[in-house]
Symmetry: C2
Subunit: 192 residues, 2 copies
DNA sequence: GTCTATACTGAGATAGAC
DNA sequence: GTCTATCTCAGTATAGAC
């Protein structure tokens, strides 16, 4: 058996613990125990604890950052582009074996140590606010501060992820669509 | 000058740090530094670090738990009762000098150590789900799993708190009403 | 009620055998 | 690639002077 499996298992178990306890509160001993190895063995797969959370973070954010930026630049109604993005995002996250809500919920990103990751996330948020602004300008969305809009999209995404992590998903695509619909309801102006 | 001021200041600074870094990641030295006292002086005001977070938590939850339960039992449209509750909740939280979003966001509640607080929060969530169920049954709300509804109410509340903590609120009542409106938009069936 | 000094514990990480 | 043993350091909390 290759090392890849243990590596993957570390990511899965660590993400669950990060979600439950937060990054700092989760000890490498706890992660190791969940993976069924001893604590020092973790350091064969990752140089340090930080690298574990960085990898989980990259998994969730790298492609998302590209896609949200594309969504900003494409033509067509902003509400449709946001909806499309959210469906992709949710269905991708729902398919991952890690507890992805750990990332956004977590304490890790807010500390100095993770300034680089925080910067990536900030850029992502910037694009998201841009897209929301477009929808407000075109009259598709209610008039709110784009920053509040971004906070709501992010928090509803987490809520939906947490929900899906709870109920065991059978059809990731369907639940992703429902999630995206729900998020857009909070913004979209009723067309009468 | 009485000890009350230092005590209050500890709660304020601690809440901000808990919000930024999470409970476990925030050290008593950092809290002390923010309050401008030395680390051991904290222990004159609180028996331990845990007691600080417990007090912040109680401040936010004790009355809320009572009010949400009352809202469940009153007559009238569930959407109105939920709206009323949310206005009260948001305006109360917005008025507090602490960073109240720290509590829900934080990692503290999820650890074993805080099982008692977690139980209180669970009871609160139970009432919230009950109220949402009432609104679904009466046709006021869209048909979603009440648990998802609860997650969304909670996450949007946090998002709104974080927003208000960012922009400096001049009129807590107005922003509370706007927040409650926004949260209800996500659920309320459009009446055609 | 705040300080300095310090005890104690638990965490991340390394060394080196197997 | 995993183990046992251990280093080192940071964090909570206490003791006791002022």
């Amino acid at each position: 058996m290759e090392t890849v499996d243990t590596r993957q298992e570390i990511l899965i178990q660590a993400s669950r613990l990060f979600k439950k306890l937060g990054y700092r509160a989760t000890t490498t001993r706890e992660i190791a125990k969940a993976v069924n190895i001893k604590q020092p063995s973790l350091f064969h797969h990752f140089p340090n604890k930080k690298a574990i959370v960085e990898e989980i973070f990259s998994l969730s954010l790298n492609e998302a950052a590209v896609r949200i930026e594309e969504a900003c630049r494409r033509d067509g109604p902003a509400s449709e582009r946001l909806h499309q993005y959210l469906v992709w995002d949710l269905s991708t996250l729902h398919r991952m074996p890690m507890a992805m809500s750990a990332i956004y919920t977590g304490d890790a990103l807010k500390s100095e140590e993770f300034a680089e990751l925080a910067a990536k996330l900030k850029a992502f948020y910037h694009s998201l606010e841009d897209l929301i602004s477009q929808g407000i300008d075109s009259g598709e969305f209610v008039e709110i501060d784009p920053m509040l809009g971004r906070l709501i999209v992010a928090s509803m995404t987490i809520a939906h992820l947490e929900y899906a992590e709870e109920v065991t998903v059978t059809d990731p695509d369907r639940i992703a669509r429902e999630g995206a619909d729900l998020i857009l309801r909070a913004f979209r102006r009723e067309q009468n």
